[in-house]
């Protein structure tokens, strides 16, 4: 099973990279672009056929390593 994992900064956490990109978009003429947030996308193959087990494992991966839940949130799809 493949997990497709998105890790993003929580709302309210300053994202200096997002701000810099927003300014760049603005200077390119995209004045209607706003609130740019930069995140991470990861794919992980999980050698597990039981969907519930795979789900529990990916959740643990996110909690323990892939996201720092003080500042980040995560979501994933299993397929």
């Amino acid at each position: 099973m493949k997990a497709k994992i998105h890790v993003t900064l929580k709302q309210g956490i300053l994202d200096p990279q997002g701000k810099a990109i927003e300014h760049a978009l603005d200077s390119l003429g995209f004045q209607n672009a706003g609130n740019v947030r930069v995140g991470k996308y990861m794919e992980v193959d999980v050698n597990e056929t039981d969907r519930a087990k795979a789900d529990a494992q990916v959740k643990q991966m996110c909690e323990k390593l892939l996201a720092n839940t003080v500042i980040e949130e995560y979501r994933y799809e299993l397929g």
Binding site: I13, P16, Q17, A20, L66, N68, V70
Partner: protein, 240 residues
């Protein structure tokens, strides 16, 4: 004093720390590869600066799972001294030995320059040779030094006098202009509640001997020695 300096793949201030403790202060130092276990008989452990694991994922996020870190956590739980400098501080945060996280500097720049920090608490095992409120000039060199934690944790850390260093002006004023990286409350260094684990972004090992033109950082290491009732030995470098 027996000091252990942990070496992660990507550490680059490990030998600077060894040099200060061994050659400048005359103490015994062991270098500990991150895959080894912590040797017995250490008085303090140093997590040095650098770019452990290339800062992949998040700074310090992968180093915290190095085999040696189990021993470092145990060492800290026993109340013994652990100091994390720059990347070492980031590792201590990721390992949960100190509260909070590091965000990217608000400027997005890697900043390498001398800064001033104010000693907010001089009654610690890392700052007992400083005066309360003393201003130290120590260099920083980081891209991710923007300290952040949630408001509840921050209130606890402040109430408990765990904020040890804050970025300030040369005359000790803690202002927004003196904050190089956007750190919450100008925080440059914090300690755990038990007072035996310190993390700081500035590099005291880069400002700890006369020949470097700045000895302010030496006070941190001398404080650690004092906490063990030791003083610096005749430096091997005297007269060189």
């Amino acid at each position: 004093m027996n000091i252990g300096v942990v070496v992660f793949p990507g550490s680059n201030c490990d030998h600077d720390c060894e040099y200060i403790f061994k050659d400048v202060l005359g103490q015994s130092v062991k270098m500990i590869w991150h895959k080894d276990t912590l040797p017995a008989g250490l008085d303090a452990v140093v997590l040095p600066g650098g770019f452990s694991y290339g800062d992949y994922l998040r700074t310090g996020a992968i180093a915290r799972f190095s085999p040696v870190m189990g021993g470092v956590k145990e060492f800290a739980r026993e109340g013994r001294l652990v100091i994390g400098i720059c990347n070492g501080f980031q590792i201590l945060l990721e390992a949960g030995l100190l509260p909070g996280v590091m965000l990217r500097n608000t400027s997005l720049n890697f900043i390498c320059k001398d800064v001033y920090v104010k000693v907010e608490n001089a009654a610690t095992r890392f700052t007992n040779r400083c005066e309360s409120g003393q201003v130290l000039k120590i260099p920083i060199a980081h891209a991710d030094g923007n300290y952040y934690t949630d408001p509840v944790t921050l209130a606890g850390v402040k109430a408990n006098a765990q904020v040890i260093f804050r970025y300030c002006t040369a005359d000790g004023k803690v202002t927004a202009e003196a904050n190089p990286n956007g750190s919450l409350d100008n925080i440059a260094g914090i300690m755990n509640a038990d007072g035996n684990v310190l993390g700081m972004m500035p590099h005291p090992e880069r400002s700890a001997e006369t020949v470097l033109g700045n000895e302010d950082g030496r006070l941190i290491f001398l404080s650690m020695l004092s906490a063990f009732g030791k003083s610096e030995q005749q430096s091997r470098l005297v007269g060189v």
